[in-house]
């Protein structure tokens, strides 16, 4: 009986597992394999084994260090500010005020909008000449000359990071708010009896309870930032020059614009290795978080 049940269980799971293995796991393995070949994906014909040549070429790619630095800045600034803003938003939405329920729904808008919409919205808003943001800042007298939000090599990366933060802080906000609401009120009441300050309560009750949520949230954000292509692609296309290229956009460019398929495959291996490390940390934390619940 029970072994037949088990077999049925595997049968139920198998289509899902099959697709994941065939299209995701296999892609990772195939990606590693391709990085050792001269790939003829676009031209047709045979792939030629070239050993570590692709890796040697990658090490000498003059643009790549800059792209990696961009990716690091994009993730470091993006994730930390998204989490801080999300936490601040959650603390604020936990207060009592009119329109709170309304705001909790509206706040979801940036998060549910398609990436391509987010990109289009901000490309229009941040346009140097006719963008409303520059118009507004000039009108109220903060700046005299329009700021090149998306076309200045020094500023563009921070602007696109800002767009991504705008898109994701509501997600962290709501996740954190949900976690805050599971904190037993008795803890705060006891702290009140002891005469704890508002900061003391935040530091010693709220924050420890949110630790797991914030850590898991940061890890997911890291992976989302790592994988995001559309927002940078639409707002700046990775430019000016390579100023806003991250690993995600650079892989696409190398493969489909510069038509250096093998080089792109090699950079892909580096990229999904980084994603793999963060994913394993994520799973490790998640298992701890649930500690036997499943």
């Amino acid at each position: 009986m029970s072994s037949r049940e088990g077999a049925l269980g595997y049968a139920f799971v198998s289509p899902t597992v099959f697709l994941i293995v065939a299209l995701i796991l296999y892609s990772i393995l195939r990606g590693i394999q391709l990085s050792f070949y001269d790939i003829h994906l676009l031209r047709g014909g045979e792939d030629i084994f070239v050993g570590f040549q692709n890796y040697i070429r990658m090490a000498n790619d003059p643009v790549l260090p800059n792209v990696i630095l961009n990716t690091f800045i994009w993730i470091a600034f993006g994730v930390s500010l998204t989490v801080l803003l999300g936490l601040a938003t959650a603390l604020f939405l936990d207060l009592k005020f009119r329109a709170r329920t309304f705001l909790r729904v509206v706040i979801l808008i940036p998060w549910v909008l398609p990436d391509v919409d987010v990109g289009a919205i901000w490309k229009w808003l941040l346009d140097t000449q006719v963008g409303i943001l520059n118009q507004f800042l000039i009108t109220i007298g903060i700046i005299k000359n329009p700021i090149e939000w998306l076309s200045s090599p020094d500023l563009a990366l921070f602007s696109v990071t800002g767009v991504m933060i705008w898109r994701l802080f509501p997600f962290i906000g709501l996740l954190t708010l949900a976690a805050m609401q599971t904190i037993p009120t008795e803890l705060y009441e006891a702290a009140n009896v002891d005469g704890a300050s508002r900061y003391g309560k935040f530091r010693h009750i709220t924050l420890p309870h949110l630790a797991f949520t914030l850590i898991l949230g940061s890890l997911i954000l890291t992976i989302w930032f790592m994988n995001n292509f559309a927002i940078i692609w639409i707002t700046t296309g990775g430019g000016p020059g390579h100023a806003t290229d991250t690993l995600a956009t650079y892989i696409y460019k190398v493969a489909f614009q510069f038509l250096r398929m093998s080089d792109a495959a090699t950079i892909s291996v580096v990229t999904f290795s980084i994603i793999g490390i963060f994913s394993l940390v994520y799973l490790f934390v998640l298992r701890k978080y649930w500690a036997g619940e499943i």
Partner: protein, 280 residues
């Protein structure tokens, strides 16, 4: 006095937060109602001097300034997203049910391995996926893209289904099985109907994932008659002259189903979107 200041401060934050969240979307909407002549007028006009729905009409009929077959894109997106929604909700229901109800060795490992697969879909597997899709004949195919999107949706969908079935009391199923009903019958006749709300949000989630997916569609759909909406939209913003009233109305139309679902089914939506992140 201090109290009044505090209340004032609170509502000031409410207003600022609201503007930060809502204004960018609203601004594109505002532009989408303008005639071309008014789009680049400085200072910008709110509301438009001569508001018009013409841009929406042009997008829906495919007569935009930067020519693009919008009705075709729209149809393709509907097809791909529907395939994804149907396939994902069926496969995830089976998998999620088995993982929550049936004892089998390696169940926990399987559950976490499936979640791990959630992290990888992105540009870093673009090239091998393209290679595979070409080999199995699913390149440049709407069904192929639907199957790929299904695969990308399955990890989170399976976790959602797992959570859904786990939260249903199993007494009913156990009683039915004691009376001789098979596991399959119990699954189809009892568990599925009881889990229908969760399964609906899985379908919704999968639909949206596919509806908005960009980079794989970009690489796997080279022919215009097979392109989906995000590709059409982006081709607009990559041109030197951007007709923002067209881009605006196309973007608004594109996001409209999502915003409507958000307003109508906020709770389900939030649960679906944050699934896998923390709680199943």
């Amino acid at each position: 006095m201090i109290k009044i200041l505090k209340i004032f401060g609170k509502y000031l934050i409410v207003i600022i937060l609201f503007l930060i969240i809502f204004f960018p979307y609203f601004w594109l909407f505002n532009t989408s109602l303008k005639e071309f002549a008014e789009v680049y007028v400085l200072p910008p006009t709110i509301p438009p001097k001569k508001p018009t729905l013409e841009n929406y009409y042009n997008v829906l009929t495919g007569n935009t300034a930067f020519a693009a077959p919008w009705p075709t894109f729209f149809r393709n997106s509907i097809i791909v997203a529907s395939i994804t929604a149907v396939l994902t909700s069926i496969l995830a229901s089976f998998a999620g049910y088995a993982l929550s109800r049936i004892r089998m060795p390696g169940r926990r490992t399987l559950l976490f391995a499936i979640l791990l697969a959630w992290m990888f879909p992105g540009p870093s597997i673009l090239i091998p996926v393209l290679d595979t899709m070409k080999k199995i004949g699913l390149y440049n195919s709407l069904i192929g893209l639907g199957i790929l999107h299904t695969t990308f949706a399955l990890p989170v969908a399976t976790w959602l289904a797992f959570g859904t079935f786990r939260s249903i009391p199993k007494e009913l199923e156990e009683a039915a099985m004691i009376e001789g009903a098979s596991r399959m019958k119990v699954f189809l006749r009892i568990a599925i109907p009881l889990g229908r709300i969760g399964i609906t949000s899985i379908a919704l989630l999968a639909f949206l994932l596919s509806w908005t997916e960009f980079v794989f569609a970009l690489v796997l759909m080279p022919d215009v008659p097979n392109k989906t909406l995000p590709l059409g939209l982006v081709s607009f913003t990559r041109d030197y002259t951007i007709y923002w009233m067209d881009t605006g109305s196309a973007s608004i139309l594109f996001s409209l189903p999502i915003v409507l679902i958000l307003i109508l089914a906020e709770k389900q939506f939030v649960k679906g979107m944050s699934a896998g992140a923390l709680k199943a």
